[in-house]
Point group: C2
């Protein structure tokens, strides 16, 4: 029976809280961490952990901002995200520590872990790949491709897939091409699923600011999730 | 029981011969045309028609060169392909006529047809989409993205997917980006599955000229074929 268990862990000396959705058996299982968008670990984000469990894995909704901390306005979200995007070394250390905390849980098979992320969380999982995290695979959804400006651990170990809206103004075709060059140079097994006309936040139900290039897209979201299911079946098998 | 039936048809007044792989029931079924690479309708190309049948559809190995005509050397292949790539209006007319011939077969549900193609054949299926062919979907494998230099029928009707090796020297990232702009402008529902490090001809068992950027890739071929299966399930449902 699917069970959702809050999990407390410490990053930078401060309490954080994620949500582990597991089968209640207590047996270690392959586990997929989900990293949130700029707003933090919201209920909508926790839904992805449940959807990962429905695919047959443990799902873990990670928290990078601190227990209960979410942004409710654009300004609040920027105030939470920008310090981390602006200090990629700090972000890398937090990401590796979060992955370590999950790997230590008794319900988790630490040898079979993966990570997915959305927007800011997409950048996070690409940074985990760059950092040499002991993950089998990482998947970015409408993530940012900006290089970390730090040395990567090469060859990049996790398999990598990016689900990308081609009309995403936050990740232009130029940045896609540059990312492809970076991950090819660094020896990654990488894939890109590009979706014509899809905007930023295409996975986020309710996102609807097309003039800003931000819009939920039910059809594309379904295609991307199906692609994720195939990817996880490959990398966590 | 799977049955393979040679099908004769006429293009430009000359005999051509394809291969229809169907279930032998005589009932009209959704059908996927497969367009060959520069070498023509070889036995290896016919295999794709059998593989399409294994996915549950009729598979049709099309012939654009003439009955029994295949290239056996680079020079022969170029001599067969270049006149068609060099006259896209002529190619368009041939492609539409081939699709019409298949649509007229009693085993074919003409309202549910799709097309796939490899290398030159990938260019062909993108041209069918540009031409307004009555297809539900087209899929290009390591295809060429060169624009046709002809007006497209817009909005582009078939759903479109391209499986692309990012290290394919015949289809550079610049041409991918330009193609995305073209198909977005022309209203296509398009997707791109890019594979880092994969070269031209990644679907072609035995292709092995890495210094030319040409190489079979078993892993990428499997991923691309799985992506095709999902795509056909969506567009032919």
């Amino acid at each position: 029976m699917t069970t959702a268990t809050p999990v407390d862990y410490v990053l930078e000396g401060k309490p954080h809280q994620g949500l582990l959705v597991h089968d209640g058996s207590g047996q270690p299982k392959p586990t997929v961490l989900a990293f949130h968008a700029w707003d933090g670990r919201t209920g909508a984000h926790d839904d992805f952990a449940h959807r990962l469990a429905a695919l047959g894995w443990n799902g873990f909704a990670a928290d990078l901002y601190g227990k209960g901390v979410v942004g409710n306005t654009t300004e609040e979200c920027q105030a939470l995200m920008n310090p981390l995007v602006g200090d990629r070394a700090r972000l890398r250390a937090m990401l590796l520590a979060a992955a370590d905390a999950v790997a230590a849980l008794p319900q988790v098979d630490a040898s079979r872990m993966a990570a997915i992320g959305f927007c800011f969380g997409g950048l996070c999982v690409l940074d985990l790949a760059r950092a040499g995290a002991p993950l089998k695979g990482v998947a970015s959804f409408h993530g940012l491709f900006n290089p970390a400006g730090l040395p990567s651990v090469t060859p990049i170990k996790p398999k990598v897939i990016a689900f990308h809206g081609w009309a995403d103004p936050m990740a232009t075709p130029d940045s896609v091409v540059a990312w492809g060059e970076e991950f090819t140079r660094d020896g990654a097994d990488w894939q890109l699923h590009g979706f014509g006309g899809a905007m930023h936040a295409f996975m986020n139900v309710g996102a609807d600011m097309p003039s800003m290039g931000i819009k939920y897209d039910e059809k594309v979201a379904a295609r991307a999730w199906a692609g994720l299911a195939d990817f996880l079946n490959e990398v966590l098998a």
